[in-house]
Amino acid sequence: MALIETRNLTYTYPGISKPSIEDVSIQIEKGEFVLITGPSGCGKTTLCRCFNGLVPHFYQGEIKGDITVAGINTLDHHTYELAKHVGLVFQNPENQLFALSIEKDVAFGLENVGVSREEMRQKVDWALHQTGIYDIRDRSPHEISGGQQQRVAIASVLAMEPEIIVLDEPTSFLDPLSAEKIFEVIYKLNQEQGITVVLVEHRLDLTAKYTNHLIVMDQGKVCLEGNPRDILSKEETSRIGVGIPKATQLYQMLTKEGHNLGNRTPLCSEELADQILEALVR
């Protein structure tokens, strides 16, 4: 069975007439790095909220269809039961930080699942180091910048070492180099420890290279799904309003003019530069 599986999942928030996600059927296997993208308001965030049961348990509303996450039917089980399996990093870090110090915020999840003191110390320190906030661990999460808050939110989830990490535009407030470093940490966890990653992002320039499973949503529905190289080559993808990485666009422009840059559609600058260099020395 897939690690995350939805069948004809349709959900409507209370007081709204139109469903925010409609008839969504997807399968995510263990160890995948999944990227979900699509125009703003297309239902990406709502779908993520289903993965840890915030929808429907916290948001209420009306849900139809089936969803299982790590073998658990999320409709019958509470968010706290799912928390051991799924860590969710919210779009707005302020919505998930609450403790008096950064360190306490990062330790909170572990305290609740009854981890020993030594183990907790070790896991918290590891997460603080991975996200580059070890030096500010004593400060309040409410007096640091938006970018630093995002690091705290990510650290809190990493410390729990869940099977699945769901990140909703997790680095939007971070400067580009810091964002890249965070994505590298997440990618490493995915590659080395087999943690399944579900990332919601508009900025494919930064993130397309990490994924092997791209999901494009529009108006609550999944419209395209599969290998990113195939999907980003489709005209339909840009018609939906997905920002195709510049390297991919440039490759398409040059091949359209009749130049052979190899059959692989590049997802990042390194790949495109190699393909052009090869064509230039061939």
């Binding site: 407030f173 400067d175 580009p176 997905v242 920002g243 510049k246 040059l254």
Partner: protein, 274 residues
């Protein structure tokens, strides 16, 4: 016009966020302020509408020192859109939010109505007119905040991270819109981490690091300097990354625009074929 002369600013926690910053922004300019988290970018632009007053040095907006003017008075000429929309939204519907400042400034109902409709149309929000801003997505809330500031038709616009949570189409609209404002002689200052957005708009780029300005110039020069950018915790735009790697093959490095990239590469590939 904004004239900043050697300003310093320290927060009550004694952290010195600005350490001697001078900058002049002329009417009709589009300036992107970039730099790492904590470099002082947001602190700096909060001086433009008097939200913060310098500890030393001076900030003049159209010749008037901000210390001699109130935030309320400055709000008429300098519109400010915060990084996090939730810090400025408070109304029960999108329409009251967008009309709020206009009502406070005492505009008549007909004008308020016209402006609200025009702004909602412009930012693709008309369908949410009667909806609570808090039911909208992050990207949509960000546009509501922008609409409420634009409705007042300020002479200068300060945008703190305007592209966060915006999809490709909205970013393109924002770009066109900024260029249109510029054509009307309005000044736009954007604090942004979005290198791809800056590469497309090609504004004047001001780079900050540790409370100081470390570079100021044309986008295609600054955004293609890997050493300078790394010091400011910024990565090269993707096109510039490609050309940095291709410079080994004798191609120019300072390219950030995709059309220019296409033209240069087509010439190189054609030459190779012959």
């Amino acid at each position: 016009m904004i004239e900043v002369l050697d300003i310093h600013y320290s927060y009550p926690s004694k952290v010195e966020a600005l350490r001697g910053v001078s900058l002049t922004i002329k009417d009709g300019e589009f300036v992107a302020i970039m730099g790492q988290n904590g470099a002082g970018k947001s602190t700096f632009v909060k001086h433009f509408n008097g939200l913060l007053k310098p500890s030393a040095g001076s900030v003049k907006v159209d010749g008037v020192e901000t210390t001699k003017s109130s935030v309320a008075a400055l709000a008429r000429s300098v519109g400010f859109v915060f990084q996090n929309p939730d810090h400025q939204l408070f109304s029960e519907t999108v329409e009251t939010e967008v009309g709020f400042a206009l009502k406070n400034f005492g505009f008549d109902a007909k004008i308020i109505e016209e402006r609200i409709s025009a702004m909602l149309e412009l930012l693709s929000l008309s369908q949410y007119r009667k909806t609570s801003p808090f039911l909208l997505s992050g990207g949509e809330r960000k546009r509501v905040a922008l609409a409420s500031v634009l409705a007042c038709d300020p002479k200068m616009l300060v945008l703190d991270e305007p592209t966060i949570g915006q999809d490709h189409e909205q970013k393109e609209k924002l770009q066109q819109f900024i260029l249109k404002l510029q054509a009307q002689g309005k000044t736009v200052v954007a604090v942004t981490h979005d290198v791809e957005f800056v590469a497309e708009c090609n504004p004047r780029v001001v780079l900050m690091r540790e409370g100081k300005i470390v570079a100021d110039g044309e986008g295609h020069k600054i955004l293609t300097d890997p050493v300078m950018l790394e010091a400011a915790s910024i990565v090269l735009p993707q096109i510039a990354q490609v050309f940095t790697k291709l410079s080994a093959a004798g191609l120019p490095k300072d390219i950030i625009d995709i059309s220019e990239a296409k033209a240069v590469l087509l010439r190189a590939l054609e030459k190779r074929k012959q």
